[in-house]
Subunit: 343 residues, 4 copies
C-alpha cells in the first residue's frame, strides 16, 4: 500500500476523505446528468395504466400512479435528478383519499373528464389540458363523478424536498375533506386581473389553483395569429402566480408552448431538465443526438444541458415543467440558443 | 416693533424664517385637507359636457375635458391635493391627437361606445365601465369611430408629478400614431394568468392597459354570490398589474366595489382622498357630517381622513381611485374602520 | 363676452373648468420649478442662528430652527417644491421636547459637539458630519450636554406628506422620553454587515439611525485613493438601509460626495431638486448660468433639471439630500450627464 | 408470482413503477435524514490535516482538503444531504491555483494567519474567525505569504448544485489571477452602511466577500452586554448581503452565535441541517439523545429536525452554516423551540 492509500485508509475511520481524489466528480466542468432523454408513448402507457385499475383501488393505493422512472436513474422513482413524474388513474366512483405534504404537486390532465381535485375546501373539475396545482401542505383529495376513467400527469418536487430533509405529510381523518367554497370561487378571486382589496395571500404558491386549458389555449392562439414566435420554442407562455407575477409554484416552473405547423426550431439547451407532455398535434424533438417522434399524450424528458430542437408537422401544443424557479432563485440557471451548426 | 418681529424682518432678507411661528401649520396634528367632500350629478354635468362639444373641437382642444375642480381648491384644477379628475368628450369622427407625458392617466368609461384609445400602437375599444390605462410616457390618442358621443372620467397624477418637478410632455408629429398591434394583443399576453416566457416588461405600470367591465363585473358578481363582503366597503376589488401582483399604476390605486342591495356599511376613513364614480345602482354616502345621494354616472370625492359610510338602496357598483400606492410605498397610509357610534 | 368665456363662467359655478385653457400649465413640456438656485453662506447664517438663541428658548420654540426658504417660493417655508430645510440651534443645557410626526426628518451636523438626539429610547451623540435619521412616527427629542452651541441642518419631507394629506403629530407627555437602550445599541445591531437572526424590522426607514462621519469619511477616502470617480459627481456614496440595501429613508435620498482637489466635473442634471451642505474644502458649482462659490458649512440648492457642474479647489466633501427615492419608486426620475458643450 | 408482482415486473421494462409501493418512502411523514449527529474534535483532526501537507502539495491537489464526511452518508463526501464541509490546509509559500465553479463556497478561518484568498482580482488576508465568501462563478485562488500553516473550514453547496444538474467549472490559465484592486477595496465600498451611488451589483451573492472576525465579534459583545439573548440560541447574528439585507449567499446561510458563560439553552429544531464550528470557549450540545462536548476549533453537525440544546461552561462563540436560504426561498423551512420537557 502506498503512502497516500495508507493515509486515506487511516483517516477514513475519522470520517475524513481526501477531496483531491474526488474533486472532478464533485465539481465537474459541466453538468453530467445521470438522467437520459426518454419518451413514453401513450399508446404503450395506456394499457398499463388501465391495468393498474384492476390491480389496486384508488382508496387502497392512496394514489394509484405509475411513476415514469428515468432509464438513467433506475430505482430512484425520478424522471430527472430534481423532479418526479407519474400518471395517475381515477375510475368512475373512486376517491383518492385526502392528505397533505410538504411536496408541491402539479396535475396536467391527459385523458377523460368529470373528475375533480379538491384543494383546501374547493373543488375544480378536470378537463384535458387543464393545469391544476396542489400547493405545499394543503389538504387535497381527488374523485371521479364522471362516466369514464380520468388520467393525469403528476409532477412533484420530491427530490428537492428530500435533498433538504424537509418532508412532512399527514392523512386527513376522513377520506374526503369537506367542501367549504363553491367551485369557481378561486377563479372569481384571481382570474380577472383583479384581486380582493385586502386579500392577505402570503404563501409562495399561486392561490389560483386551476388554470383551465380553454383559456390558456385561446391566449396561445391569439399570439400565434400575431406571429409571436421564439426561434427555438415557438409561442411559449408560463403559468403565472397572480399575487407576484412570478412562477405559479416555487419549486416547479410550468408552461405551455405552441409550435406552428411546419415549425423547425433552433436547438437550445438549459440547465433545467424538463418534462414535456404533448396535448395536441404531431411533431418531433431531437435531444442530443437522439430523435423522438411524438403525438397527443406522449411524454418525454430532456435532461439538463442537452441540446433539444423541436419540429412540428401539424400545429403542436406541449405542456412542460422543470425546476427552473429554483435555479433562478439560486442563481444557477444557464441557457443558450445554439447555432444550427452547433446542434 | 417687538424684538421677535424685528428679528423676523431682518432675517427674511436672507431667505430665513422662524419655524416656531409656522410649526403647527407645517406639522399639524392630523390631516387638514383643503379639499372638501363634493358630488357632481351627471344630470348636471351632461349638458355642460355636450355643450363643450360645440365650444371647441377635440383637435383644437387636444383634450376636450371639463375638469372637476374641488370647491375647496379653487383655481387649482384639482379634485384632491394629490389628484386630478375630468370628464372627456369625444364626438363621432373626432380625434384627440397623439401625445405623451410623464403623468399617468386612467380612463373610466362613463357613457357611450365605439370610441378607442390607442397606447403605444395598440387600440382598445371603449365600453361603459371599462378601465383603461395610459402609462407614463406612452404615446396615446383617442378617436371615435362610433355613432354617438363618448364620455369618460380622466384621472391623472398631475399634482404628484408637479410636486416633484418631474413633468415632461411632447406632441406626436402626426395626429394619430400608427397601429402596430391588433386589438386584443395585450389581452392575449396578460389576461389569462399566463405570460410570455421571456416578456421583459420592466416599467412600473401594468402592461395590461385595458380591463373590460364585463370581466370585472362577473368577478364581482361571483364574489357577491359567495357572500364575500367587507363591513365598510362591500365587495372591493383592486385592479392588478399582472407583472407584479401590485397596483396597476404606481401613482394611483384603482378599484371597483359592489354594495349589495340593502347594504349599510360601517364608517371608515383613510388618508388617501378618493374619487368615486357610480356605474350601477342607487345609494348614498355620508362623508363627515354630509350626506350625498348618488346614481349612475355621478362622481364624488372623499377627502383624506374624513369618515365615509356607504348605503345601497339597490345593488351598487362604484369605481374609485386614490393616491394609495404612493402612500403605501412611502409608509404614509393610515386607515380605520370606525364604530357606528364614532361615525 | 364671447361664447367661450360665457361658457367658462357658467360652468365655474358647477366646479367645472376647461382643461384646454390650462393644459400647458398642468402638463408642461419640461419641469418648470418655481424654486431657484440659491446659496446660504454660513458666515451670514451663523449670526442669525446665534441671535435666535436669544430670541426664544428651545423649550418654547419646540424646535428652534431657521427655515431656509427658497427665494422662488416665498411664503412656502420650502427649499424645493418637495423638500424642507432648516438650521436648528441647541444651546448647552437646553432641551427640544419630545414629539413625533408622520414626516421623516434628517439631521446633518454642521457645527459643535456634545448634543444628542434620542430616537425611540436610544440617544446618539452628535459630531460634525454625522448623519442622523428621525424615522416617521418615532418619538424624538434633542438635548445639549456639551459646552457650546450645536447647529445642524434639518431636512424634512413636509411637502410630500402634505400633498398626500397624511400628516399626524403628537407631543410626548414629558419633555424628555426615557432612555431604554444604551448608546451604540443600534450600531451594534446594524453597523457590522450582520443582523440579529430574527430581527423583525419592518418599517420603510433604516433602523440604523446614526451614521457617524468618521466611518463614512474613511470609506470616501479609501475609494478616492482607489481613483473611483464619477465624471460629474466625484466619489458619491449614498447612505444605505441595512435591512433592504435601499435608501436609508423612503422619502429622502441622502449621500456624501468627495471631489478630489482640482476636480472639474461634467455638467449633469436630474429631476430631483437637491440640497447640498459643504462639510470640508472649497469649491464652486455652476447651476444653470449661475456660478456659486462655497466653503465649509455653506448650503445650496439645485432645482430640478437645472444643469449643475462642480469644481473643487481643494478636496471637497459635500452632503446632499433630495426626493430621489420617491421619484424612483414612482418611475419619475430622469437624469443626464451633459456634454461640456451643452452646459 | 402474484398478480401485482407480475404487473410490476411487466411495467418495469417500460420504465414504469407503482407509486403505492414506495409512497411512504417518497413522501414520509417527517424528515428521515440519513445524516447523523457527529462531532470532529480538532485535536484529532489536526494531525491528519498536517500529515496531508506531506502527502500532497496544494498545487497538485488544487485544493488540499480533508472532507468531513457524515458517518450516515458513507461514500457521499457530504456532511448533510444538502451540504459539503472540509478542512483546507495551505502551507507557507504554497498556492492553491485559480479556478471558478458554479458552486458557492464559504471559508471560515480556523487556525493560522497570513494566508489570503483572492476573489475576482482582490485579495483578503485571513485571520482566525474571519468569514470569507467565494461567490458562484468567480475566479479564486489562495496563497500563504505567512510563516505557519493556515487551516480553514470550507462549506460548499455541492449537493444543491448537483441536484439541479447545474455544475460548471474551469481552470484559470495561470496559477494565480492578477490582482486588480487593493486589499480593502471591497470593504470601503460595502462595510460602512454606505454604497456607491450607482453600483450596479446584481448577482445573488454579497459583493462584500470578507467579514473580519474583529468586527463581528465586537457586535456580538455589545449585544451580549445589552443582554440580547434568544432562549435557545443566545446572541445569534447572521451575515448580511449589504445589497439586499438578506443572506450573504443564496444557497447557504451563515451566522455567529455567542452563548454567555453559564448559558443553558432551550431545545429547538429546524429543517435546515446545520454545521457548527466552535471559535471560542467550551460548551456542550445535546443533539437528539446524544451529548457532545466541544472546545475551540471543534466542528459538529446537527441533522434536520433533530432537537439540539446548547450549554456553555465559559462564554462560547460558534460559527454556523446551513441550507436555510434555500428552504426559505422555497417555502420549506420549519422550526420550533421546544419545551424543556419535550427535549
Amino acid at each position: 500500500m502506498n503512502d497516500r492509500a495508507d493515509f486515506y485508509a487511516r483517516i477514513a475511520d475519522r470520517h475524513l476523505r481526501p477531496l483531491w481524489e474526488v474533486l472532478d466528480e464533485l465539481v465537474p466542468p459541466a453538468p453530467r446528468p445521470q438522467s437520459v432523454a426518454a419518451l413514453w408513448r401513450y399508446d404503450d402507457l395506456r394499457p398499463a395504466i388501465m391495468e393498474s385499475g384492476n390491480i389496486i383501488s384508488a382508496m387502497e393505493a392512496v394514489r394509484r400512479v405509475l411513476i415514469l422512472e428515468n432509464p438513467g436513474l433506475p430505482g430512484s422513482s425520478l424522471i430527472t435528478s430534481a423532479l418526479y413524474a407519474g400518471l395517475q388513474l381515477i375510475l368512475p366512483g373512486e376517491i383518492a383519499p385526502s392528505h397533505r405534504h410538504a411536496q408541491s404537486a402539479l396535475r396536467f390532465i391527459v385523458e377523460g373528464s368529470g373528475a375533480y381535485t379538491a384543494v383546501d375546501g374547493e373543488r375544480t373539475t378536470m378537463a384535458p389540458g387543464d393545469f391544476i396545482i396542489t400547493p405545499s401542505w394543503t389538504w387535497h383529495d381527488h374523485g371521479n363523478d364522471g362516466n369514464g376513467p380520468v388520467v393525469w400527469l403528476d409532477g412533484l418536487d420530491i427530490p428537492i424536498v428530500a435533498l433538504h430533509d424537509a418532508q412532512f405529510a399527514e392523512r386527513y381523518p376522513e377520506p374526503v375533506q369537506p367542501v367549504s367554497r363553491a367551485e369557481g370561487d378561486c377563479d372569481a378571486r384571481w382570474a380577472s386581473n383583479m384581486a380582493l382589496f385586502d386579500h392577505g395571500h402570503a404563501t409562495k404558491t399561486s392561490p389560483m389553483f386551476s388554470y383551465p386549458y380553454a383559456r390558456s389555449r385561446a391566449a396561445l392562439a391569439k399570439l400565434a395569429a400575431a406571429r409571436v414566435c421564439d426561434p427555438a420554442h415557438g409561442v411559449r407562455m408560463r403559468y403565472v402566480n397572480p399575487v407576484t407575477g412570478g412562477w405559479a409554484m416555487p419549486t416547479m416552473g410550468t408552461f405551455l408552448q405552441l409550435l406552428p405547423a411546419g415549425f423547425r426550431g433552433m436547438p437550445s439547451r438549459s440547465t433545467d431538465g424538463t418534462v414535456y407532455c404533448c396535448i395536441e398535434g404531431r411533431g418531433s424533438v431531437r435531444i442530443g443526438e437522439q430523435p423522438f417522434e411524438f403525438g397527443p399524450r406522449d411524454i418525454f424528458v430532456v435532461p439538463s444541458w442537452q441540446p433539444r430542437s423541436f419540429a412540428a408537422a401539424t400545429e403542436v401544443v406541449l405542456f412542460g415543467y422543470s425546476d427552473r424557479p429554483v435555479q433562478e432563485a439560486l442563481g444557477l440557471l444557464r441557457e443558450q440558443t445554439l447555432d444550427e451548426s452547433a446542434a
